[in-house]
């Protein structure tokens, strides 16, 4: 799994590429937490490169969303592939997360 982070205006765009599971999720947690500790509160997760997510990955995302909510921040997810979308739907995450089709769409709402 690869995590790329870049700042666009006031929004931090985090692209997750590859597979997010019990092995790779801790690296995602560390990198994103670092950013939040630095004061970033507006995040867009670009998941167009994510081809697999397990419950460990869902756990990371839920933890992140809760953290940002406490800081009155914002988290938007975009570009979910079908297999990831299926996991989000089954686990009820589609209704608790703000999800956009594309990165452009996610950025427009910021």
């Amino acid at each position: 799994m690869e995590v790329n982070i870049r700042k666009e205006e006031k929004v931090l765009v985090v692209s997750v590429i590859g597979r997010m599971d019990a092995i790779s999720a801790p690296a995602f947690d560390t990198q994103v937490e670092e950013q939040i500790d630095r004061g970033e509160t507006s995040l867009v997760l670009d998941l167009s490169g994510l081809d697999y997510i397990s419950s460990a990955g869902l756990r990371s995302m839920l933890t992140l969303a809760k953290k940002l909510k406490r800081k009155e921040g914002e988290l938007v997810l975009c570009g979910l592939q079908d297999v990831v979308k299926e996991v989000f739907e089954v686990s009820g995450f589609s209704t608790i997360f703000e999800i956009c089709g594309s990165l452009e769409e996610a950025m427009e709402g910021q």
């Binding site: 599971d21 019990a22 092995i23 697999y52 397990s54 419950s55 460990a56 869902l58 756990r59 839920l62 933890t63 969303a65 809760k66 909510k69 079908d82 297999v83 996991v87 089954v90 686990s91 009820g92 608790i96 997360f97």
Partner: protein, 141 residues
């Protein structure tokens, strides 16, 4: 004596071997003609069960995970995942409440729930010192 047609693999219950255990199951499933989407569902279910065993089955001493892949006469896949760790019945775990909002939603507890959703059936039995969990997946919906 005839050799059994089933495919078996035994590896230590360690995250290091998660990939190997999953590949073994996936190779078998694709060999049997399961399509990409179904293979992904099988992978996810197996992943959750295996990760669970790796995290909780052997709290003190180390142990192994044994995987046996088989298929029935209808072409359905049967994956047995066996450990000799602490007795663990996946049906005794509470399901997550999917109606809760972000703040109320508990972190964790999704793994087994996802596994149940990704295959047609999960069976569990404790036999002697073994937890035997079987994933059952049909080839067609």
């Amino acid at each position: 004596m005839s050799t059994p047609k089933r495919d078996q693999l035994r590896l230590p219950a360690d995250l290091e071997y998660l990939h190997g255990l999953k590949s073994f199951i996936l190779d078998y499933a694709s060999q049997k003609g399961f399509d990409k989407r179904k293979c992904h569902q099988i992978e996810l279910a197996a992943n959750e069960i295996l990760t669970n065993i790796i995290s909780y089955a052997y709290p003190e001493e180390k142990g192994d995970i044994r995987v046996i892949c088989d298929s029935d006469e209808d072409g359905a896949l049967l994956v047995q995942i066996i450990d000799t760790g602490v007795p663990f019945n996946p049906f005794e775990v509470d399901e997550p409440d999917l109606s809760l909002g972000l703040e109320e939603r508990k972190v964790g507890g999704l793994g087994l729930f996802l596994a149940h959703k990704m295959v047609d059936e999960i069976r569990y039995r404790r036999q002697g010192a073994e937890n035997i969990l079987t994933l059952y997946k049909r080839k067609t919906d």
